[in-house]
């Protein structure tokens, strides 16, 4: 009776260790997932900010906003990963700040 009790009790530390390990693994994977999401949001924000800054720079140097996004790229040398992001550049007049929207591709589906 005593031996049986001892053999059962011997499994407890192992079970406890496995439980701690499983919790730690879940926590680490959650943190890594959150880091990936933050990185994605930050990438989007930086892309939009870079395009806006480039448009303002071109205006400050040349006195007019570029007519199209292609012109903006040619004038400022800005490069945004177009496989990841779609840029919408809508200009009303050459002296009015254009509407710039950057969207991450693949979200709509």
């Amino acid at each position: 009776m005593k031996r049986r009790f001892q053999s059962k009790a011997a499994w407890l530390p192992l079970l406890l260790s496995l439980a701690v390990f499983a919790l730690a693994a879940v926590w680490v994977s959650a943190q890594v997932r959150e880091a990936a999401e933050v990185s994605e949001r930050e990438g989007l924000r930086q892309a939009e900010q870079a395009i806006r800054r480039a448009a303002v720079s071109v205006y400050a140097l040349e006195g007019a906003y570029p007519a199209t996004y292609r012109d903006l790229k040619a004038h400022s040398g800005i490069a945004v990963d177009e496989e990841q992001y779609k840029v919408f550049y809508e200009i009303f007049a050459s002296n009015i700040m254009p509407e710039i929207t950057v969207v991450k591709l693949g979200r709509a589906a």
Binding site: P13, S17, V20, V28, V32, R53, V56, A60, G63, M97
Partner: protein
């Protein structure tokens, strides 16, 4: 199971936990370093951008009576007028809520500072009119104050 093997298993798990924590720490440190580098790069680029933008706007609107300085929403602002098809429009340049903003509207419309379009990050703008000299003190996002005196050739 013996006590020795249990202790060994626990030790191995602790070592694995420490390794995981070290990996996460190196990730967050790397991200922090990257953010610092990015911030410095952005600050360097933005250093004269806002003031250059305002200066270019003033030169583009340099016509008699079309450039003035005043107040908008409780802060200093530069007012630039232009006439299109008999209608007078005004472009108001001001700093609000941490941004240099631009508001383009028909003259006389009562709008709020929050209605303007964001141009670049900034902390403050003061504009004063002294004859034909428009004196600007612009504080960028990094807190550096820059001064510019713009001579309005066409008169105020």
């Amino acid at each position: 199971m013996s006590r020795r093997s249990s202790a060994g298993a626990v030790a191995a798990l602790i070592a694995a936990l420490i390794l995981g924590a070290a990996l996460l720490l190196s990730l967050t440190t790397g991200a922090g370093v990257y953010r610092q580098v990015q911030y410095r790069s952005d600050s360097s680029m933005d250093q004269r951008l806002g003031l250059s933008y305002i200066t270019e706007k003033v030169h583009a609107h340099d016509a008699a009576g079309m450039v003035s300085a005043g107040e908008f929403g409780g802060c200093d602002a530069v007012f630039l007028l232009q006439e299109l098809d008999g209608v007078v429009y005004e472009t108001i340049l001001y700093v609000h809520d941490g941004w240099l903003k631009e508001l383009f509207c028909e003259q006389g419309w009562e709008l709020e500072p929050g209605d303007g379009q964001q141009i670049t990050e900034a902390r403050g703008l003061s504009a004063a009119l002294e004859g034909r000299l428009l004196r600007l003190v612009y504080t960028d996002a990094g807190g550096t104050a820059q001064q510019a005196d713009i001579y309005v050739r066409s008169g105020m």
